[in-house]
Symmetry: C2
Subunit: 189 residues, 2 copies
């Protein structure tokens, strides 16, 4: 059945997604994914034509996941300030994985920048989704001219927090910084 085939494909992508996040793309082998999914190495090439092809599928999955999250945040509140708070609070919700592995988007951009210049721009599209959405919220908040800059600024703050939290393995730092960010949001509102 093609349905069963599609399901296996999704399981492969989901496992690859996790492993790429935890171990990095280059450092994750077909054997690693195969162990996770319980299939043979050779079987991969029925579903994907290369490792880059899996990376592509993982990025597409992440793009979809992010869009779903953004729609969720929009559904939960019509207030742009509260929507931006949803973004900031994501740091707290993911504090365990951030402490261990950093921000999935930032980490992937950094790695692809080193090893695969072609797909670096694809990974940056993950950032762009958040940027455009945040930009829209800041506009709705009344920041007509500098909405884009504020979005980039917030993106940057979140990246820095994830990076330092992971390097120092310091969850209390992450909590302090979330407070600082919410104060900042309050001040510009």
């Amino acid at each position: 059945m093609s349905n069963k085939c599609e399901l296996l494909r999704q399981r492969i992508v989901a496992s690859a997604d996790q492993l790429f996040y935890q171990q990095g793309y280059e450092n994750t082998s077909f054997s690693d994914i195969a162990n996770e999914v319980n299939i043979s190495r050779g079987n991969f090439y029925y579903h994907f034509k290369s490792k880059d092809d899996i990376l592509n599928a993982v990025i597409d999955k992440r793009l979809g996941d992010i869009e779903n999250t953004l729609h969720e945040w929009e559904k939960n509140s019509p207030d742009p300030k509260k929507r931006i708070l949803s973004y900031i609070n994501m740091l707290h919700q993911n504090k365990e994985s951030i402490t261990k592995h950093g921000c999935p988007v930032g980490v992937m951009c950094t790695e692809l920048n080193k090893i695969n210049h072609l797909m670096h721009s694809d990974a940056t599209r993950l950032h762009v989704l958040f940027k455009n959405w945040l930009s829209k919220q800041f506009k709705d908040l009344g920041h007509k001219k500098d909405a884009q800059n504020l979005a980039m600024h917030l993106l940057s703050r979140a990246q820095g927090i994830a990076s330092i939290t992971s390097a120092f393995e310091d969850k209390s730092f992450l909590k302090r910084e979330i407070k600082t960010l919410t104060d900042w949001l309050e001040n510009i509102s």
Copy 2:
């Protein structure tokens, strides 16, 4: 002569330092370094016992380089605020390399977190050097209680700026954020 030997060793470490920064540690092979230094692959093992050993030497070199930079900044000004500005302005001075490859410290921490848990803490020591030095400056500025937190905050801001600048390859963002950071420093002084 042992002097000649020591010089070659330093050239190897300097080249490895550059390549690890530009391409990443895992993605840099002995051949890459050998081409740069013009020696044979086998010759490495006279000077280093493994690739990890080179990584160790690179981290030691970076620790020394950072200490020299901090001493330089101290020598250039007795004013703690100006000293902190030296740190912020480093972002501007290195804008070309940051746009291409990100922050050397952050990028290395991220990579070692994925592939080599043992040396991850060594890379974090690079962060700690800056953190302790900044902390001292904030103390001298009158922030007795929260000097440490302010230092971590500034570290985090710089990491975020480097990360986003590199992902978006956007030097104008970097310049805007430097202005934002100097304003922040002015406000807390």
